[in-house]
């Protein structure tokens, strides 16, 4: 199968197309909302709230005795929402941070859910069978999910300024008269909405990953919120579509986990290779800086040696420089010669050129602006105490 056939297959296959569209939408929604979760240190909200939904699900079943998905979904969403409010209350009224608040809500709610499930298992009906599977992967109708996703995205656009302020400087937002508590509740509720909607289609672990990975990846590429939101949406969609395509090609690759792996590749790639923040970039910058420093050191040594002879251009044996600067010096000298800062005499000695002298003087002026201008013949020791 050639690449074109493959493309045709992917876009004509109904299942792939439908699942793909769903995964893209989920990727975009969770990517965008995940940005706020990440900035507010609530990345693990997805994990916590999907566990916190259990008692709501069980209560909804106990009260209605039906497995009608609308009731159950409502119960689950309600419990998750109450849990999220609990997290907000704990973080805003106690010294505990988000991680502890999430952990408390997660484990206590889930534990209580277990208690309720035990009660349900003792009911004389058989209707409870498979109830626990509800949370982890019964497909919601496409429409329900689409509506929720579009609602959540629309709310983010509407509350752009407010949510931005809330995420970066809640104290300033409060002073400016924004209803910070309310905004916090609204934004967290949106997250819960997205989580519960996504939960049914993709399961707990995938939901947690999709809230975190696209946003964390996007964070590495930019410092601007708007760019970050767009990037997170793109990354989310890419992970979604990538996972669906890969799993449709592979023999027994489950879609959800494959999406997680794609999203993880994106984020680990970004951690390594993103410009400015990425680890590789940081290493390169550090290495280049080190090379520059060493080159300037050799140049400066040549200069001081020269001025001691009363002539800054006075050439010196390369060996003397190597003795001063270590084994890296020959390479540095080659580089400096190539830049025409240093000239190499036929007898192997090296000396500054006009450009080299200018470079040294620039550097010394920058490094020690207080020191007397290192002009020509005056062989004065570098700088006073202040310049060191």
């Amino acid at each position: 199968m050639g690449p074109l056939d493959l493309l045709l297959f992917l876009f004509s296959d109904y299942t792939v197309r439908t699942v793909g569209a769903g995964a893209v939408l989920m990727g975009v929604t969770s990517g965008v909302l995940g940005v706020y979760a990440l900035l507010r240190r609530q990345s693990l909200l997805g994990d916590a709230m999907s566990h916190a939904a259990l008692p709501g699900l069980a209560l909804a079943f106990l009260l209605t005795r039906s497995k009608e998905s609308a009731f159950l979904l409502f119960g689950a969403a309600l419990a998750a929402w109450v849990g999220a409010l609990g997290v907000i209350a704990i973080t805003s009224y106690t010294r505990l941070k988000a991680d502890a608040a999430l952990g408390v809500v997660l484990s206590v709610f889930f534990g209580f859910g277990l208690v309720l499930l035990t009660a349900i298992q003792r009911l004389p009906t058989a209707a409870q069978a498979g109830l626990d599977k509800f949370l982890f992967g019964q497909a919601a109708t496409l429409l329900q999910r689409d509506v929720l996703a579009v609602l959540a995205l629309g709310a983010v656009v509407l509350g752009w300024k407010e949510f931005k302020l809330l995420s970066f400087d809640p104290a300033f937002a409060a002073v400016q008269g924004f209803p910070v508590r309310l905004l916090d509740v609204v934004l967290t509720s949106l997250l819960v909405l997205a989580i519960v909607a996504g939960l049914q289609t993709v399961g707990v672990v995938l939901m947690s990953a999709m809230l975190i990975a696209p946003a964390a990846a996007a964070r590495q590429w930019t410092d601007r919120l708007s760019t970050m939101v767009v990037l997170a949406a793109v990354f989310g969609a890419a992970a979604g579509i990538g996972g669906v395509i890969l799993s449709s090609l592979g023999d027994s690759l489950p879609t959800g986990p494959t999406i997680v792996v794609c999203a993880s590749l994106l984020v680990y790639g970004s951690l390594l290779f993103a410009p400015h923040r990425g680890l590789v970039w940081q290493r390169l910058v550090a290495a280049r800086r080190q090379r520059t420093v060493r080159a300037l050191r050799v140049l400066t040594q040549l200069y001081w040696l020269g001025t001691q002879h009363g002539d800054p251009f006075h050439p010196h044996p390369a060996g003397a420089l190597r003795a001063l600067g270590g084994p890296g010096v020959p390479g540095i000298l080659r580089e400096l010669t190539a830049r025409n800062w240093v000239r190499r005499l036929p007898d192997g000695r090296v000396g500054l050129t006009e450009e080299g002298l200018a470079a040294v003087r620039d550097f010394l002026r920058e490094a020690e602006p207080e020191a007397p201008a290192p002009a020509g013949s005056e062989a004065k020791a570098p700088g006073g105490e202040a310049g060191r």
């Binding site: 106690t94 206590v108 792996v261 993880s264």
Partner: protein, 371 residues
């Protein structure tokens, strides 16, 4: 029967104590959720070891689980050390990936066999008494009690040996680094102990309860005390109380033991959240209220002092007009009465006049502020 009940509670209390000891520092370090992350990732170790041994009953599966616990905290520390993401995201970047790899491995290579964490790590307290440790035919009690006891001892030794380092690096990693302690090393060692404790506790009491025991008792204790030794001791006591109380709740209502213990822990947390003498909602509300009235009193005496002996005193100090002058809500009219009771002002011909004490307070306020 009594022995059975006691043994279940013994295992739970040992697990609660071990989790509380290392959990306190998880909460202080803001990585409490790492316990939950490990509960997801142990699947990978189990699956990988199964693929190697092809035997669901091999003890190496448990070793695999413990190793993934270590691997998880190792990866999280590694990501944290880059400084590119914060604690929550670092945790959230690791466990979904490891879990997903495990699921992919299962569906690729082990589809024919049902494989699940609970086949390797029992995680059901009710069954704990049936797995006995026997030496030369001598019954020494439940195996998991010994295991959790050993893990508790490990936690205790670790805590006693590195107490100073743990405390310093948890509260002030910067200072710790300056003083020559490596916060990263202490952190990694601590997380290593956590992962061993976690896997042991998953096996003894189940993942849900283990996560609850790691986080809820220390979080509750932090609401009750400001001193680290007291917090640790309280966490152990609260965890043990949740374990014992939860057992009897489950016994009475014939329901999930782990669920009841976690729920009871939640009840304790809720009580501390509302009623803690220093941090509780009620104490905060009372303090807030007292401060409001206190502030109002000080404002009143200051106002009176400012206008004392001036021409405007006749209406500025008139008891009826005060709320209007100070732009107070009507209910604060009671401040005048309060000030009278406190001996700060006296009422003369409808005017409020400062007593010597009131004057003294007003001067103090004007010099040092309302605090």
């Amino acid at each position: 029967m009594i022995g059975l009940q006691l043994e279940i509670q013994l295992v739970a209390v040992l697990a609660a104590a071990a989790c509380a000891l290392s959990g306190t520092f998880l909460v202080l370090r803001r990585v409490a959720m790492i316990s939950d992350a490990i509960s997801h990732t142990v699947l990978l170790g189990v699956v990988v070891m199964f693929l190697i041994t092809r035997d669901l009953h091999s003890p190496r599966l448990v070793v695999g689980a413990a190793l993934t616990g270590l691997g998880t905290v190792g990866l999280v520390s590694l990501i944290l050390r880059t400084g590119l993401v914060r604690e929550d995201a670092a945790i959230g970047l690791v466990f979904p990936l490891l879990f997903s790899i495990a699921v992919i491995l299962i569906s690729g290579y082990a589809d024919y066999v049902h494989i699940d964490v609970d086949m390797v790590l029992l995680g059901e307290l009710a069954f704990a008494p049936f797995d006995r440790l026997e030496v030369n035919g001598l019954d020494l009690g439940p195996r998991r009690a010994w295991l959790m006891g050993a893990i508790l001892a490990l936690n205790l030794i670790f805590l006693l040996a590195l107490y100073k380092e743990l405390k310093l690096t948890a509260f002030d990693p910067g200072l710790a680094a300056v003083l020559g302690f490596s916060p990263a090393l202490v952190h990694t060692l601590h997380l290593g102990v956590v992962s061993v404790t976690a896997v042991g506790a998953f096996d003894a009491v189940g993942a849900v309860l283990a996560v609850a025991l790691f986080i809820v008792p220390p979080a509750t204790a932090l609401l009750l005390s400001d001193r680290l030794p007291a917090v640790i001791a309280l966490a152990v006591v609260i965890g043990a109380a949740a374990a014992v109380g939860g057992y009897w709740v489950a016994h009475t209502f014939d329901t999930s033991i782990a669920g009841s213990m976690a729920t009871l822990g939640g009840v304790f947390f809720g009580l501390a959240f509302l009623g803690s003498p220093t941090q509780g909602l009620a104490a905060r509300a009372l303090r807030h209220r007292r401060q409001r009235w206190d502030f109002a009193l000080r404002l009143l005496v200051m106002h009176l002092l400012t206008h004392e002996g001036t021409a405007a005193e006749a209406h500025e100090a008139a008891a009826e007009e005060l709320p209007a002058h100070l732009r107070w809500e009507p209910r604060f009219a009671a401040v005048a009465r309060l000030a009278e009771q406190a001996g700060l002002v006296e009422r003369r011909n409808g005017l409020l006049v400062l007593t010597p004490r009131g004057r003294e307070l007003a001067r103090e306020v004007m010099l040092y502020g309302t605090g």
